[in-house]
């Protein structure tokens, strides 16, 4: 087994407060040394990667991934999803429970965990909050915790019954695992398919108002405050939501929250199909179903607000909400198209744009994808460069350009509005348990 040297890269580990040019030495699949670049000659037993100009960071953690396994393997499965994750620089993904069957009992969770031993990166399961994700009866949360879930979610469906949500939060006091809500008031949403506003009005599409999100966020914050439960708000998309979460944190609610790469970088204008430009008249590219997602892409103001929320620590983490769908689930009318963006392979390049434009700091960006999600799942070793633990690292080249090609995506699906678009910055190596599992060079 060759020893590995990552030479001359900018090593960033927010937990250890490292951000400097260093060499990283990996022996027997473990990081044994992080030291200033001094040595230039390495003997033959070392595999030396010259990483000058590149950024070396802890393996990324995606707290919100749809692996579609079991039940929807034509979209994605454990193998393809974790391969795509590796390509995107992620060494840990947390699998959302909108699968078939729903992980609402311990055997289903154990089955997933057994299968995940063969996956390409760490795949950790969530359990459902309610049986069958139907929002009516609680899942057996302690049994699910013992089986190995890292949190609870009914993702995709809102628990509209406030009493059930409250009971779930009461359970979380003892499990200490996050209850991840899904904030969409179905009555206000009223079959909306994109953000309500000027673009929906122009396209003649039914709009989803911001209030459909922030009313449920407000409700669940108040319930968490009253119960002392542990709440996590996924995919925050509106300005008002950010402000409610800000207030909640100030008043000591046990809350964390997340934002997706697309809500940080894209507006509703992407539905025009012209890279976010507003056309003088609609072209045949309009109604881009690959830009249909829940919650919907919002206005410029909302994008500014979530970026600011991330900067100020109101939003703790970036999570992809990687949501693969097959071609025929997207090549249909905008109303019928299933919501979701396939983005785990493009996520880091997408959000790195914010660093390039000085909208957030490199340290903040990396924290939100490493140490912060590691803290939420209480596995700090996954989010930092610990010595003598299995080496999980990612190497990013910030200055290279690449084009998103649907044929070279590792995901089984290619439902991204970035298809054919050029991105700046690319994940070039992913190292998982000491082995290079993705090599772009």
């Amino acid at each position: 087994m060759k020893k590995l040297v990552l030479k001359g890269g900018l090593v960033c580990d927010p937990l250890k407060k490292i951000q400097r040019i260093c060499d990283v030495l990996i022996i027997d699949n473990k990081i044994t040394e992080i030291s200033k670049t001094t040595k230039n000659e390495w003997s033959d037993e070392f595999n030396v990667l010259d990483l000058r100009g590149m950024i070396v960071l802890p393996g990324l953690i995606d707290f919100h991934t749809h692996l579609r396994d079991p039940g929807f393997e034509w979209k994605e499965d454990l193998h393809s999803g974790t391969l795509a994750a590796a390509k995107g620089g992620f060494t840990t993904v947390c699998a959302m429970p909108n699968t078939n069957p729903v992980p609402d009992s311990a055997p289903i969770v154990r089955n997933f965990i057994d299968k995940s031993y063969n996956s390409n990166v760490n795949a950790l399961p969530f359990g459902s909050i309610t049986k069958g994700r139907k929002g009516k009866t609680l899942s057996p949360m302690f049994q699910l915790q013992d089986a190995g879930v890292v949190g609870f979610s009914d993702d995709g469906d809102t628990i509209m019954d406030s009493n059930i949500m409250r009971q779930a939060l009461l359970y979380s006091i003892e499990t200490k695992l996050p209850i991840i809500n899904h904030a969409e008031d179905v009555n206000i949403k009223n079959n909306g398919v994109m953000n309500a506003g000027i673009v929906a009005d122009r396209l003649g599409l039914k709009g989803t108002l911001s209030s459909s999100e922030f009313l449920i966020i407000k409700r669940d914050i108040d319930l968490a405050k009253e119960t002392g439960g542990r709440i996590h708000i996924p995919h925050v998309s509106t300005e008002q939501s950010v402000s409610y979460i800000f207030d909640a944190k100030k008043s000591g609610v046990n809350i964390t929250s997340e934002v997706t790469p697309h809500h940080l970088t894209m507006t509703e204008n992407w539905i025009y199909g012209l890279n976010g430009d507003i056309p003088e008249y609609l072209t045949t590219s309009a109604y881009d179903t690959n830009a249909k997602v829940n919650p919907p892409l919002r206005s410029e103001n909302d994008v500014t607000a979530v970026i600011q929320g991330l900067n100020e620590g109101v939003l703790d983490i970036i999570a992809t909400d990687h949501a693969p769908h097959s071609l025929n689930e997207k090549e249909c009318s905008f109303d019928e198209a299933l919501p979701g963006i396939n983005n785990i392979e493009t996520a880091f390049s997408q959000v790195y744009k914010l660093v390039d434009r000085d909208l957030i700091s490199l340290e903040k960006l990396i924290s939100s994808l490493t140490v912060n999600p590691a803290a939420i799942i209480n596995r700090f070793e996954y989010g930092s460069l610990y010595l003598n633990t299995p080496a999980n690292l990612t190497v990013f080249n910030p200055s290279t350009y690449w084009t998103v090609n649907e044929r070279t995506l590792s995901s089984k699906s290619s439902n991204t509005p970035l298809k054919g678009k050029e991105l700046k910055g690319r994940i070039v190596y992913t190292i998982f348990n000491g082995k290079i599992i993705h090599d772009e060079l």
């Binding site: 000027i198 009005d201 003649g204 410029e300 019928e336």
Partner: protein, 330 residues
């Protein structure tokens, strides 16, 4: 109160859509020049229509009318227009009930395309489907109405009718009453009328106004439309308008909680006899049809000369003749 509309400015050089195909997906891509050309060729086509003489313009061309939503007047109007131009015409009706979810629109279209056609006319109950189809076929696509989005041929017909009956559109005071939020006709008409310089006022309860007009979270410095959402203000505007366009109230709006019942709507917003005779006995009246008699308008007024509703239907044929000619031959 006025609101910014997300409308294109008057563009000078665009004729239909990009590329080689002349799709007609909405009126927004038509330059004022193209609109003027369409109006002039409709004048010519109208003579053939009135005398029922076929002309060989589209002889040997096959037009397919594919309707995923029920329609009588638009479908028949296109068919008559095609036949007067000597085109072969195929009608395909796919009621929404038989399109189960997940069944592919594109597969249906590709099947029809392989049979052979020169133009496709599409109506669908979801907005944007004509764009999806236009991306995937190699013949011109004409939008015959897509849900709440657009109805370009109806709108062009309305413009033609106003021009014929009232003269120049610039500075005409036009009042649009009703469900603009869900109306494809209103959307296309507002776009065209604003660009042609009409003075537009929209009157509707706030529940039937587009979201961006009510919850203003976006402003673009574009054309303006005046909004009225109290019925008394609507009454005083009626007295000062040249033309009123009434929109159909769909029964499903009641289920969505937008209105208490049709009776309330009719009392507050309907063109009743008393409103008509007292406030605006000279006003011209249009309605894209079908009319809910006694709701949007009193039946008695429909038979008066003020009503241009019959002309709207008649002019639909020559306008669609010129649209077909434009899309297929230009």
């Amino acid at each position: 109160m006025t609101y910014d509309m997300n409308l294109p400015s008057n563009h000078s050089n665009i004729d239909f859509q990009e590329g080689k195909l002349n799709h007609l997906l909405d009126v927004d891509s038509l330059s004022l020049n193209s609109i003027e050309n369409l109006i002039q060729s409709t004048d010519l086509a109208k003579k053939n229509f009135v005398s029922k003489t076929k002309i060989p313009t589209l002889k040997g061309k096959t037009i397919v009318n594919i309707f995923f939503e029920n329609s009588t007047r638009t479908r028949v109007s296109f068919e008559q227009a095609g036949k007067l131009l000597s085109a072969d015409f195929i009608n395909v009706n796919i009621p929404s009930s038989s399109m189960t979810k997940g069944e592919s629109i594109l597969n249906t279209i590709k099947t029809i395309q392989s049979i052979g056609m020169d133009c496709l006319i599409v109506r669908h109950h979801h907005s944007g489907v004509p764009y999806l189809i236009a991306r995937n076929v190699n013949v011109p696509v004409i939008n015959a109405g897509d849900s709440m989005h657009a109805h370009p041929t109806q709108s062009l017909t309305d413009i033609y009718t106003i021009r014929t009956e009232l003269g120049e559109i610039k500075n005409k005071k036009i009042l649009i009453i009703g469900d603009v939020k869900h109306s494809r006709v209103a959307r296309s008409n507002i776009n065209l009328l604003v660009r042609l310089g009409a003075n537009i006022t929209v009157a509707a309860p706030t529940t039937l106004l587009p979201d961006s007009w009510v919850v203003q979270n976006n402003t673009r410095n574009l054309k303006r439309v005046k909004i009225i959402s109290h019925y008394l203000k609507m009454e005083s505007k009626l007295a000062k308008s040249d033309l009123v366009m009434l929109l159909r109230i769909q029964k499903e709006r009641l289920d969505q909680g937008c209105l208490p019942d049709l009776d309330e709507y009719s009392k507050l917003w309907g063109l009743s006899k008393s409103r008509f005779y007292n406030l605006c006995p000279k006003i011209y009246i249009m309605h894209p049809g079908p009319v809910n008699e006694g709701v949007e308008i009193d039946s008695e007024i429909l038979s008066l000369n003020n009503s241009l509703i019959d002309q709207q239907v008649e002019n639909g044929v020559p306008m669609r003749m010129s649209v077909l000619e434009f899309c297929i031959l230009k």
